[in-house]
Amino acid sequence: MIMPGLYHILFISAALFFIGVYGFFTRRNLITMLMSIELILNSVNLNFIAFNKYVWPNKLDGLFFTLFVIAIAAAEAATAIAIIINLYRSHQSIDVENAQDLKY
């Protein structure tokens, strides 16, 4: 039985980060893109917690940062969903391919 250490958690969080980035660039549905961003933010939370537990056990900065990241993620999602609802009203779709009026 291997106990999970710092490197395991860092591996998971890096993988989560890049899955989020991949999803953000490939998905065409706005809600799914928003979920990808949540994945990125959660990978950051994992990072902070892991660093706090394994590397800097006598500090609290990482834990507090995680709390604030969760709060900000909620605020961001609320604004984004309000904007997406408005986009749905005007475009009748939440597919980014249909919102292409602005081009160089």
């Binding site: 989020g20 893109m33 990482g62 604030f68 986009l87 009203r89 602005l102 160089y104």
Partner: protein, 465 residues
């Protein structure tokens, strides 16, 4: 107790105004004209209050700090917001949600104030979010236009993505050094690979906010789709505040990594200037044109930042001050024309001089200043930026920047030519801007001329640095 009042004075004044506006929104049945007049007065008071009772110091264990220089930067931002409330009166008066627009704008400004004063990466991140999320909502304020909601969508997605990258960088910095305080970080940075990776992530997030090439794709779309007041806020206030905090982070926190970020800045600056200029050449919409011109201007700001010297800091602040006046004047004229006639293409401006000489002269002054032609302040701004950048003795870099200024002359003069020289059968009719817009345009034109001629302004900034 007294200390809290004076050190956080700018933020407290702004918060008081925000609360007042919330009550006005809830309680009153005032007409838009009188509400707007009250807001303009409040913003003028906010700007003037920046000059009194300033005290240096830090609060909350170093999380919040302020100095004469930071107060000066905040004053520039307050001035810009006051000018926005004057210049876009035409559009604002017609909007049914006028008060909400200002509530969002002032929340973003509050975020920028905290951003400039932040002494800690947590504070930095929170205030950066406070400074960007309301702007995305502001981009959606032309509620019945399709492009407005599209631009808001692009803005919120790209800013959320960039804040994700920023956070990942911060988490790596925390892992590598064990601290998130700006005061403790410089001593712990030793250029290990993990720290460099973290720095690259942070730099990318800044590049997103400043719309540095290759992270500029959202800029032109958001600028074109958003209402003109939001575009002006985004391109002047938002960009100025991020430039200020970017330069102070690089110069104080990441000073030990100077050799690394100089090369990054140089390459990105050249790419930004060239791409901004090349795309600006072929634009037909005035908003997209100003968007790409602002990207090119950021390239010049990076030249100044790359010097890593006090001259770099003072020249960037001076340039942002000039940029506030000149860019707001250009946006102001475009907004008056757009809200009265709905025309936003450069071709529509043909023959404008026959009908509206005043607007034409203001626009010409602003564009001359953006291009950097001598009697206007823009020339001095660019001169100091390039002189500061030249202190690194990398003359090839400065030469490329100077050549880019010549390219930019072409497209700025193209607009001036179509206003003054080209004929048009159906020119835009005579427009009489209302009092506050005229006042704003006069302040901006005076600023464009006087900031360059009055040398004590630059001397004052140098003394503060």
């Amino acid at each position: 107790m007294n200390e809290y009042l004076t050190i956080m004075k700018s933020e407290l004044v702004l918060t008081a105004i925000l609360f007042l506006l919330l009550f006005v929104k809830l309680g009153s049945r005032w007409k838009n004209e009188s509400t707007l007049l009250m807001i303009q007065l409040l913003l003028l008071l906010n700007f003037l209050s920046g000059f009194f009772f300033n005290q240096n110091g830090s609060l909350f264990g170093g999380m919040f700090h302020t100095s004469a220089l930071i107060v000066f930067q905040k004053n520039i931002l307050s001035l810009a917001v006051y000018l926005i409330s004057l210049l876009f009166a035409d559009w604002l008066k017609k909007h049914e949600h006028l008060t909400e627009f200002f509530i969002l704008m002032l929340s973003a400004l509050l975020g920028m104030f905290f951003l400039l004063s932040s002494g800690n990466l947590l504070m930095f991140f929170l205030s950066l979010e406070l400074a960007t999320i309301p702007v995305a909502a502001m981009a959606n304020f032309d509620l019945d236009k399709k492009i407005s909601s599209e631009s808001a969508m692009k803005m919120i997605l790209s800013s959320a993505f960039s804040s994700g990258i920023l956070l990942f960088g911060i988490s790596l910095i925390y892992g590598a050094t064990g601290t998130i305080s700006f005061a403790e970080l410089p001593a712990l940075l030793n250029g290990s690979p993990l720290q460099i990776l973290a720095f690259v992530f942070l730099f990318t997030a800044f590049a997103f906010k400043l719309s540095i090439v290759p992270f500029h794709f959202w800029t032109a779309d958001v600028y074109e789709g958003a209402p003109m007041a939001t575009t002006a806020f985004l391109s002047v206030v938002s960009k100025g505040s991020v430039a200020f905090i970017f330069i102070s982070t690089l110069y104080t926190v990441f000073k030990p990594m100077d050799a690394i970020w100089y090369n990054m800045l140089m390459i990105l600056s050249i790419a930004t200037m060239i791409m901004g200029n090349l795309f600006a050449l072929r634009q037909q919409s005035i908003k997209r044109f100003l968007a790409f011109s602002s990207i090119a201007q950021v390239g010049f700001i990076l030249v100044g930042i790359s010097s890593n010297s006090p001259e770099g800091l003072s020249s960037v602040i001076y340039f942002v001050l000039i940029y506030v006046f000149s860019n707001l004047a250009a946006f102001g004229v475009a907004a008056v024309i757009s809200s009265r006639t709905g025309k936003e293409r450069i071709d529509d401006y043909k023959g404008l001089y026959q009908t509206n000489p005043f607007l034409c002269w203001v626009m010409a002054l602003a564009l001359f200043s953006l291009a950097g032609i001598p009697p206007t302040a823009g020339f001095f701004g660019k001169l100091f930026l390039l002189t500061a950048g030249a202190s690194r003795a990398n003359y090839l870099f400065i030469g490329i920047a100077a050549l880019n200024m010549i390219v930019s002359l072409y497209y700025y003069l193209r607009v001036i030519r179509s206003m003054f020289m080209e004929k048009n059968e159906t020119p835009i009719g005579k427009i009489k801007p209302d009092m506050s817009t005229t006042l704003g345009l006069i302040i901006c034109s005076a600023g464009v001329v006087l900031v360059g001629l009055l040398s004590w302004i630059y001397d004052y900034i140098v003394k503060l640095v």
